[in-house]
Symmetry: C2
Amino acid sequence: MRFAGTLLAAAGLALASADAAGAASPKAAVHAWRQAHEKEILSDFVALLAMPNVATNVADVERNAAYISGLLQKRGFKAQLLTAEPGTPPSVLAELKTPGATRTVVFYAHYDGQPIGQKGWISTPFEPSMRTALPEARSIDWKAAQTLNPDWRLFARSAGDDKGSIQALISAFDALKASGVKPSVNIKLLYEGEEEQGSPHFAALVAKNLELVRGDLLIMGDGPMHQSGKQQINFGNRGITGFRATVYGPLKPLHDGHYGSWAPSPTVMIAALVMSLRDDEGRILIPGVYDDVAPISAADRAALAALPDVETGLKTALGLGRNIGPPRLADGYMAPTLNVRAIHAGDDGPNAANAIPTEANASFDFRLAPGETPRHVRDLTEAWLSHEGWFIVRAAPDLATRLAHPKIVRIDWDEGASIATESPMAGPAAKAVEASISRTVGYPVLKLPFMGASSGMAEIVNQLKAPMVGVSIANYDDNQHAQNENLRLGNLWDGIEVYAGLLADLTW
Amino acid sequence: MRFAGTLLAAAGLALASADAAGAASPKAAVHAWRQAHEKEILSDFVALLAMPNVATNVADVERNAAYISGLLQKRGFKAQLLTAEPGTPPSVLAELKTPGATRTVVFYAHYDGQPIGQKGWISTPFEPSMRTALPEARSIDWKAAQTLNPDWRLFARSAGDDKGSIQALISAFDALKASGVKPSVNIKLLYEGEEEQGSPHFAALVAKNLELVRGDLLIMGDGPMHQSGKQQINFGNRGITGFRATVYGPLKPLHDGHYGSWAPSPTVMIAALVMSLRDDEGRILIPGVYDDVAPISAADRAALAALPDVETGLKTALGLGRNIGPPRLADGYMAPTLNVRAIHAGDDGPNAANAIPTEANASFDFRLAPGETPRHVRDLTEAWLSHEGWFIVRAAPDLATRLAHPKIVRIDWDEGASIATESPMAGPAAKAVEASISRTVGYPVLKLPFMGASSGMAEIVNQLKAPMVGVSIANYDDNQHAQNENLRLGNLWDGIEVYAGLLADLTW
């Protein structure tokens, strides 16, 4: 009876009342229900994943929101769509009160997805496809299979990031209902529709609907599990602010034989700009950018030190002959990181030409540590670029501007940005989550002070000042944000049990 | 009577015998014939440009070769297609003997073109379109026009580089024939079909057909005129060798929030590689790369110093707030240049993702000065990359290689490469060309010791050891190698007269 848990029994936490009421334990009942309904759950998940949800296409995003609202209304939730302003991606807010419950838990996830145009997709992003793991990725006729291997993976955009969390919670709810287990808390589901755009309107959306989304605990269902394969919870995310830099060469493309020794090359200029901001070892070269970073607490250091060693295995799995930054992966989350998302200059492949292009660009995102603000990091970045001789513009420069300034860079900051979120690891609600998941999985859940990623959740935490715990169910190798995103079936099954445990027996 | 010339009359050069025979001077006759046949010439040129000729598509290239052979056979030339080996792009060799002539002049041009996939073409590259100059580029119905404005431009791939030279010579031949003017020399036309690929088979083609292509003077009809708008001749081209560098990150794309502080970024690695080879001021950073460069002769220095100042006007026309390298454009041709053709890393625009890509690449070409060899420059480049910590591979690395080496770069050298060509400015054949063109244009033609560009001609010059003179007719702003390539009509008309002058009165 793993659900009752033994490892944390000494903590003296009350088990959910349903545990005593049913013939089987809730955990056993959920487990049995899931096993009996795997193909139905998968069919529902495939239908959810088949809906295009690239964050930049608001019409697609709205279709997803309406569909998810419908799923929840069918289950007795009171669902509505919230927007910051008309035409912006809606969030789904769904509420279900539990008679007698005194706590309200807000479960956050996001239903929008990253763009899909990356090269190398082995299947169509919005036609979910069951396969063995990469690199083999053999196609599986799962509907015809007698049993479903938990190591199979469902390939689709958002399978891991982040529709898997939505499916797992809905299936957990179905499992509890079928087993006659009542939730222990009032439930609010808040499903965001623009997380993959950096949540440009989410702060306003939350501010506008503050009372509607208020709760006593926020559970953020996003991000991957620990690379060791163990369940982890986290208590924060880094902030984010990104930008695109465009540098300018000649007004017309030039033959590089005739002009290469005389005309400035935007291709070289963009490489120089990149290397003035960050080095190959991951150090950010912008003066002052580390100054605001909050010191790391002793509790955080202890939690980081307790994480299993995964780095050696990761290097082998990823084919890396080295790492950059601190040797331990999660140690790097405590500081800002500057990622260079892309550099594009000139034509390559069949369109390659011996020419000097007219412009070049690079795209960046900062992951911000606690203490930093997007505003200050932007100011420091622009001050450094100015110091390095760049004249900063906000639109394509006109001829007079080009002639007056030898080095011009256009900076377009991403619309969305957020500060880091941090929530105490030792609060009663956080401890209740830790205990519930540890009971479900049968071992002490890993605790990560910070996720490396960012989240629209930051805005809720900062506005509602409720404690937050991140609960991730996706396999770490789910290729989120890239081609061939996938969710391992076993992770979906485990996720259903984790969510069912939280719904059934969270008390504090 | 511009054709007879007055400026160089003092040089005492003999005029072509035809000058005395005809009622009008050959120059006047050619001029009149061209004026009377502008639309026919243009129709022929449009038909030639409408044939797709991207150098990588051998079938297209072969169709062009057959078509051009046909044009020349109709005019009495003995034409044949030469190849280095079956399946490689053919060169057209066409020959016409002139009774009594003692000299054979080989006119070189190339009929293949650069790729066409660049963004921003205002018309379709192989549907020639008459327009006013950029940026307005207003479409013109030239067939309905009463007169053709010489400032109009015909937009099409290869209009300037290099089918314009072919059309100008064919029309010059037609003009002389119609005027009853006999050529003064035996004519060979050698039209290459893979120049824009770096002439990978041209050396072998010439070696295999050495006697067929032999001549007493090579005239290379390629490249743009001087930026001042004055006619220039040149006596050499730089060599070329290029490569593509691919660097490797994780085997799978990674979420940059979770892994950006730990996993090496190929995006940053490729920028670092670029900046280790060349700086933003155009200096090549590879040790030894300038050591082989031949010293600049006093004659070359004098010729360079005599070139009109175009740099100030060029900066304004190109919207450049600075130049790199030597202040004078052509001074830079006397040294090697490393051009960074392209950098590609990660996805941008609608496919942008906050991810670390698996690899990144950059593409380079060296323009080589006299004294340098592609082999030695390649060796120096690879030695420097090794010194900088790169492990060089020739194919995508396997897992063991990735794990054994922290920084891996795959280097793919371009198939085509050539050394620089240099021919004496003061030889009798070169002087005859100088005099002929000066007579035609009515002023002392500008002399450029070197073109910045490269040419398959290098192989002929080096094998045949005949003097070479480069004669360019295209407007300098013809956008060769880029989108919106175009030839100014006035340049085509002047080019016809220049070629007619060379055909009619070259003697030495």
